[in-house]
Amino acid sequence: MEETRFRRLVEESGCDALLTFGADNFRYMTGATLPFPDDYPEKRAVSITPADEGDTCAVVAPPDWAQAIRDQGWLEPIEAYNENDGPYPSDVVKTLTKTLRGMGLSGAKLGFDAARTHAGLLEALRSTLEEAKLLPVDDWLTSARALKRPDEIALIENSCEYADRGIIHGLNHLEGTLWGPGYTLPEFAERIRVHVFEDGASGVGHLAVTMGDDTQLEYTPVRGDVEEEQLLRCDVTSHSMGYWSANSRMAYTGEAPAELEDSYYENQALKAYAVDLLEPGARCDKIYTQVRGEAEKMGMRLHGPIIGHGVGCSHFEAPYLTDGYPFELKVGNVIALGVATLGPRREIIVDRDIYEITPQKPRKLSWYRSWDRLYEVTGFRAVH
């Protein structure tokens, strides 16, 4: 059923077969999540999906990734390339070319994800596979990925729960530690990461924990101690079997001052306004401009030119709620809504939630806990 669907999709793209080079597209086509692919730009796993159902699919992968792909249920051939045929991209291209020839695709019309394929790799492939026609099919892939199936949405929903539980458990551990024995910020960040895993996630991607003045920035190296009377922001992206969530949550170490609480409440009001706009047929650019207009009316300033984006096989994907993106929302889109505004000291205030677009109201997938007010770390403990 699933395979038939993908074959049909490849056929619809007008190609004889589809090659994916991006790890997110690889996950989408094969069901296999790769081990930390962003950190290894000179390693590539490539999926090959012919349109014809009678033809076998295949994967070309680094020797030390092949087992992980197989263990995730990939039953078709995996050709491991030899790193000694390198340096990159010669090692990948040699085995890929041989595999495509073996599959009878050397003269075929091959679609590929141009936004994920290094130009140098493509040049090398074209020189060894002169007779093939390589066509970018990114728009087609993006559209297909933007519409989630129920099983994909279920994984994203799981991921949201794991992330939120991880964050709240990390915060729970902070209770009663502020004046003694004290926590370091790296330790707190690590608590979040570990709890996200303990709660069931299969991976953490971006993890930014900022405190005090550093909350004016999107990311800073995690250093120093957790101090009292400080604003904290936790930005976490994590996945459940390769399907991602992107959550941001905010806390204060102590009782939050009124001006900060007010900023947070105003941010919540603006966010609620944005949520009401998330409906099928609404244009992404118009949602953004409406929210920006509302922010101005409320006397607030948005941080950055984007208030939301899709999540799925990546933690940041189409559709984007930003100016100049005229895409209309559809039932089945999943949006990470992060309306970021600036606080009294230019702190970035954001409470990022994930919503599924349904025929009725958007369904909140990150429902585990309400974050409609700043979490205040004011508790005590005897032993933890």
């Binding site: 962003d38 992980a68 000694n84 936004a115 970018p136 100016d323």
Partner: protein
């Protein structure tokens, strides 16, 4: 010479009118910015544009501009709003300062094909040419500042792994998950950066050690499997400090090693010795690979095929040059390499004990040996 001066000189002498560097690792190198998150956002490109005569400029999405300026040693920025098309527009505006027919070096082994096509379309009078070889050469030899940092990181990673192994008692029934986390915590305690999904620890024991990635896709989390007496345990870690990486794997036996376990380990020791002997300034890295492979054959070691036997380390934990058959680069002073042959153990375990070395004027010097690794760590029965 420090990195910024080295880069200024390299750009000046490169023959390019400008360099446009987009790969997250290359960006970190050129801009001096430890910004681990950018690799995870391919739809929001970040780049450094370095004109042959002029200051470098960072191109970044508007929402990241201030963050990246703070992290980077390059303080001049140009922000863009939107995705790749807006990025290209911003780059094209800066590239107007390059004369018609000028050559712009781009890292083709990082730049997506679609972005290259957009760049060509928006700056039709310029020629975009690969500068990957130049970047590869530059990155392969470290400056003094880079070397100090890498040496410190290598030591911290080895300390982190060893510190965690110290907690293991053969009879304590510790799980792989717990040991993975202990490795991570010890690396953190040593002072290394915790960078979300980038930093990884893993412990794999017994039959799980026969896999690269047990329990995929739960990478680097560890399995609930308990360590059992008599097993081989592989403890891995890779962490960074200020954007420079250390990577390590150390082996532990649950109790005194059996003859077969010791034999497998001695293969690794011999391959390390062979590498140290061959890694002399001027030697071709492809020849170092051949020397190691031939030693493995002579000893009857089951060397796992298809892999390079080592690699560089710097702003990425695996980077060029490689100790691989096809590697043409020569060993030179200031190079940092990780020697990493993998052999099969007596029960099919994948065993490696990676060693970071720096090449001095006379040859390699091992870094970060918190313990003498001519023997594996042997877990005790009592504290």
């Amino acid at each position: 010479m420090e990195l910024y001066e080295k880069l200024c000189e390299a750009v000046e002498e490169s023959g390019f009118d400008a360099l446009l560097v987009t790969g997250p690792d290359n960006f970190c190198y050129m801009a001096g910015a430890s910004s681990p998150f950018i690799a995870q956002y391919p739809e929001s490109p970040v780049a450094v544009l370095w004109l042959r005569r002029g200051e470098p400029t960072v191109i970044a999405p508007e929402e990241w501009e201030e963050t990246i300026r703070t992290l980077s040693s390059v303080k001049k920025t140009k922000a863009y709003t939107g995705g790749t098309e807006s990025f290209v527009k911003a780059a094209a505006e800066l590239l107007r300062r390059v004369k018609k027919g000028g050559r712009v070096g781009v890292d083709l082994l990082r730049l997506p094909y679609s972005t290259l096509e957009l760049l060509r379309g928006s700056s039709p009078t310029l020629e975009f040419v690969g500068c990957d070889a130049m970047l590869r050469d530059l990155r392969a030899t470290k400056t003094e500042g880079e070397a100090d940092l890498l040496e410190e990181v290598a030591y911290m990673v080895d300390h982190g792994i060893f510190g965690a192994q110290h907690h293991v008692l053969v009879t304590s029934e510790r799980s792989e998950m717990s040991l993975s986390e202990e490795v991570r915590v010890h690396c953190m305690e040593a002072g290394l950066d915790v960078v979300g999904g980038h930093s990884v620890s893993q412990a794999a024991s017994g039959e799980n050690a026969a896999k690269w990635w047990p329990r995929a896709p739960y990478y680097g989390i560890g399995y609930d499997k308990k360590l059992r007496p008599g097993e081989y345990v592989r403890c891995e870690a890779r962490y960074s400090l200020n954007g420079y990486w250390g990577t390590g794997s150390r082996l532990m036996t649950q109790g005194y090693p059996t003859t077969e376990q010791r034999e497998a380990y001695l293969h690794l020791v011999a391959l390390r010795e062979k590498a140290l002997e061959a890694l002399k300034p001027g030697a071709k890295l492809g020849d170092v690979y051949k020397a190691m492979a031939s030693e493995a054959q002579k000893r009857g070691a089951k060397l796992v095929s298809g892999l390079a036997l080592g690699h560089g380390v710097g702003v990425a934990d695996v980077e060029a040059p490689y100790i691989a058959a096809g590697e043409g680069m020569k060993v030179c002073e200031g190079m940092f390499l990780v020697i990493r042959p993998v052999v099969e153990g007596p029960k099919g375990e994948l065993l490696w004990s990676s060693d970071t070395v720096v090449i001095d004027s006379t040859g390699p010097r091992i870094l970060g040996w918190y313990k003498d690794w001519r023997m594996p760590y042997v877990a005790n029965y009592t504290l």
